[in-house]
């Protein structure tokens, strides 16, 4: 169990440093302007983070929808299909900087831990509503003055506040002088998610993240899966107890909620769960 946890944490940290490694940006209060920003990273990673060397897929999607007229955002859909088909929500579990932040917050020994919010069965669909209303419709039709606005980034995204706004405003006095009410709204959203993350495992991923909503559609057929050896499975439920999202053995990997964190793999006493890239999900050996 610990081995898998450490491996995942190590990969998350290395990936986050690798994709946010523009140190000069943090020191100067500016952002990276090189060619790597033509490419989207798989996870939620604000491109206005001073260290970010790639583009946020959700920000990029909204930038394309903010264009005059309407065009299908093929470039970003391409990234979604590519990352989604290969990894599904493994991206959320292993390659998302804001997921790492929530994981670390959940380790703080405060409050009695819970896996889910009350009304989880309804609330888990909110992320799809956020995707449709804020990212797609909001960015296509909401105007601020004469220009369309990236509605999700502007009103909800906590990653932009934490990884973009706070480091930039700390280092850049000119930006600090422009703070208005909207910033405090975004700060409130961030604080709520931080507090919830201490008690509940990854509340933003479970209930609000539109990127998780996109990748969840790929979960059933992505290349990377968690396979189960049905013959040797004793249905002991150890995987469900270990699963931070409380998924049953039949839901693991297949459910749109599963982020393939691997907690089930490492806890299975019969060793019948494993990461795999072949033959789908269930196997008889």
């Amino acid at each position: 169990m610990k081995h898998m946890k450490h491996l995942r944490l190590t990969i998350q940290i290395i990936y986050t440093i690798f994709t946010n490694g523009y140190i000069y940006g943090f020191l100067s209060g500016k952002i990276y302007q090189g060619r790597l920003k033509y490419v989207c990273v798989p996870g939620l990673n604000c491109y206005s983070c001073p260290g970010a060397v790639g583009s946020c897929p959700l920000g990029a999607l909204q930038a394309l929808l903010n264009q005059r007229g309407f065009q299908i955002p093929f470039a970003v859909l391409g990234f979604f299909f590519l990352f989604g088909s290969l990894l599904g929500r493994t991206v959320c579990g292993w390659l998302c900087p804001f997921g790492l932040v929530q994981d670390l917050l959940h380790r703080i020994p405060l409050f009695r831990k819970r896996k889910r919010l009350p009304f989880h069965r309804i609330l888990k669909y909110v992320k799809y509503a956020v995707l449709i209303l804020f990212v797609c419709i909001g960015s296509s039709f909401l105007f601020g003055g004469f220009a369309k606005i990236p509605a999700f980034c502007k009103y909800l995204c906590p990653s932009g506040t934490l990884l973009g706004a706070l480091p930039l405003l700390t280092a850049n006095r000119l930006l600090r002088s422009q703070i208005q009410g909207l910033f405090f709204w975004k700060l409130l959203v961030l604080l709520l998610i931080i507090l919830l993350s201490v008690k509940i495992y990854r509340p933003f991923c479970q209930y609000l993240c539109p990127l998780g909503a996109v990748y969840s559609w790929f979960n059933r057929f992505s290349l990377v899966q968690i396979c189960r050896d049905r013959e040797n499975c004793t249905s002991c439920n150890a995987c469900r107890k270990a699963c931070p999202f409380d998924l049953s053995v039949d839901e693991i990997s297949r459910s749109p909620e599963c982020i393939r964190c691997g907690a089930c793999v490492s806890v299975c006493p019969a060793g019948c769960l494993r990461f795999s890239t072949k033959n789908g999900r269930s196997q008889n050996r």
């Binding site: 033509y38 990029a60 088909s85 033959n279």
Partner: protein, 50 residues
């Protein structure tokens, strides 16, 4: 048991190829330039002051 010959187990491959196709279409339509232009300037909306 889903085998490699089952079309359903190759959906990831079709998805990946679709992704590559979409990326090429996006490239031809100049969408990467739009993404880059947005990403290299500080997004005031993203940081809550726009």
């Amino acid at each position: 048991m889903r085998s490699w010959n089952n079309p359903a187990s190759r959906l990831w491959l079709y998805g990946t190829l679709t992704g590559i196709l979409f990326l090429l279409i996006g490239l031809l339509q100049g969408q990467f330039a739009v993404i880059w232009q947005k990403a290299v300037l500080i997004c005031l909306e993203c940081i809550g002051i726009g």
